[in-house]
């Protein structure tokens, strides 16, 4: 069967604020296989971001075990986790987080700058390939402030793809975009899924969950629903159904 990319075993994450302890995650276990497109839903404060940060090795659990690509993350130190992020994970943020006044190409090659294995030439080639994959081959030398929100998010996705990660993590990646652009981004994610990428997509919008292959719902730091999506909707179709906007 499919290889497992993520294995969570009774993950807990507590935050100590003053003399109070916030239990953001209260014992979470699941496995995500290669090629899955998982949505994580839940109301605000349910622990979605906390979990995504753990999955992305930006944070470590208070308790429990986390295996990423069969590597035990909980026992790793900061630098090892940095290297792991650099090689295995691609992040997509709600607010894009592109470097200002920097071209799309330079933004995209950024993860490779922290990997000494790549030469400048290779970096550039891979960045251009990634921009091509997200449909921005004509925006390679545009600076971040010369692009629309949708384009910036595409650059950010290209940046997440450039290091060929085993896992793409998106936190409210469409949160700052209008409906049409959000669907366009979902089309892109579905294309990536079709090419075999493993994607975890955090959203509080249940509509978007319909485009993913598996839905996990959190409440109060616990998984209350984890089910495969038998009827994956096509984002492309939804986009075509939207009233044409011409101005």
């Amino acid at each position: 069967m499919n290889k497992s990319i993520i294995r969570l075993e009774n993950i807990k994450r507590d935050f100590v604020v003053g003399d109070e302890t916030v239990h953001a995650l209260r014992g979470i276990s699941f496995t995500i296989n290669e090629g899955e497109f998982v949505s994580i839903m839940g109301s605000s404060g349910s622990g979605k971001s906390t979990m995504l940060n753990l999955l992305g090795c930006l944070d470590t659990p208070t308790d429990g075990e986390y295996f990423l690509d069969d590597v035990a993350v909980s026992s790793m130190n900061k630098n090892q986790r940095s290297t792991l992020r650099n090689k295995k994970i691609g992040f997509v943020f709600q607010s894009y987080n592109l470097l200002p006044k920097t071209t799309a190409e330079e933004n995209v090659e950024l993860p490779l700058m922290y990997n000494p294995a790549y030469s400048g030439k290779e970096r550039r080639a891979k960045a251009i390939k990634a921009l091509d994959d997200v449909g921005l081959s004509d925006r390679v030398n545009h600076k971040s402030n010369q692009m629309s929100g949708g384009q910036m998010q595409r650059v950010a996705i290209a940046r997440a793809l450039v290091n060929d990660p085993v896992l793409i993590l998106a936190d409210e990646a469409t949160g700052n975009l209008d409906t049409r652009t959000a669907y366009e981004i979902m089309v892109l994610f579905q294309e990536l899924h079709a090419k075999g990428r493993t994607i975890i997509f955090v959203t509080h919008n249940p509509e978007l969950a319909a485009f993913t292959s598996r839905n996990i719902v959190l409440r109060d730091g616990k998984v209350i629903k984890d089910a495969p999506n038998r009827q994956i909707e096509s984002a492309k179709k939804m986009l075509d159904m939207l009233p044409k906007q011409d101005d």
Partner: protein, 406 residues
Amino acid sequence: MNIGNLIKISLRALNNNKMRAFLTMLGIIIGVASVITMLAIGQGSKKSIQSQISEMGSNMIMIQPGTGNMGGVRLSGESQQTLKLGDYYALRDKTQYISACSPTVNSSGQFIYQSNNYPCAITGVNSDYLDIRKLSIDEGTVFSKQQIEAAAKVCIVGKTVITNLFTNGEDPLGKVIRFNKIPFTIIGTLNEKGFNSMGMDQDNVVLAPYTTIQKRILAITYIQGIFASASSEANTNKAIAEAENILRTNHKLKPTDADDFNIRSQEEISKMLTSTTDILTILLACIAGISLLVGGIGIMNIMYVSVTERTREIGLRMSIGAKGRDILSQFLIEAILISFTGGIIGVIIGLGASFLIHAVFSWPISVQLYAVLMSFVVCTITGVFFGWYPAKKASELDPIEALRYE
């Protein structure tokens, strides 16, 4: 993470904020430029004093009346009358290590030639004086023994005096000029020596037989000083000891009495003068150093603001795999690039300013390699030192917090 990539990252970051980088650099530029210029001026005047002095003759010995207290407060030597002609004769006749010797007496006043008048001191000496002070006759002759014995009204004049008195370009030789109504016949002119390092015009002199000044102008029997030459530079100290002995015997001083004269060698004078310029150099360098320090603090300030402003960028870099030390290096390299580039520009401007000062004010300057190298080292250290704290702070940010920063 290799250093090449880090430098590239830092350069891109600086490139995104050129104006700010330049303004930050300005502090360093001004600091380094002033250090270079100040040292060039300080070293220049020191060098020129040194060469001046060796030109004056490194075996020269000066004797003045009064208890000399070098560097300290003392009475004006010339107002004391402890040196007599007898002292001069004794030094001239009874010494082994003194090869030339001349008494000096001075009087200031006005010289008049036709309708021109010019204020200048007249110095009474003997013919040895020219050798001792490394002066030479351009045209004419030095005073003869007879002229000295007869207290003849003759004189030798320097170029500046000539240009001020003989405005029509006449030949000064044989002309009579008046000093405080006494007529002096010019029997010789001096070769030009120019200004010395302290800005004194060495051609602004009139020399006459000391006897003439003593008898006809000042009506005194004592002398105001003695200039002598040691037989060689190596013998200077022996000559000084010898002179001291002779003068003490002549003045009938008891062993417990202090000298009522003071003897200084050219070397001592040289040391005294250069120590002044050394202090001046240090002082100038300190002031310049302070401006470099202020420049450094400017770097720290800007880097600090920059780290705060770029918190999200730092969070992003960390999320895509930058380690703490990569972030630290990036900001440190930014600081060093600013200070080092500022250093290069500062050195260039400093050199330019030094040469400009030399060209415009004709001050002596001397640019030394060590000053330039030191500036670079100091700049780099400044960058590391003042960039360290903000860079460290950046590297210790928590990526999650940093990404959430508004």
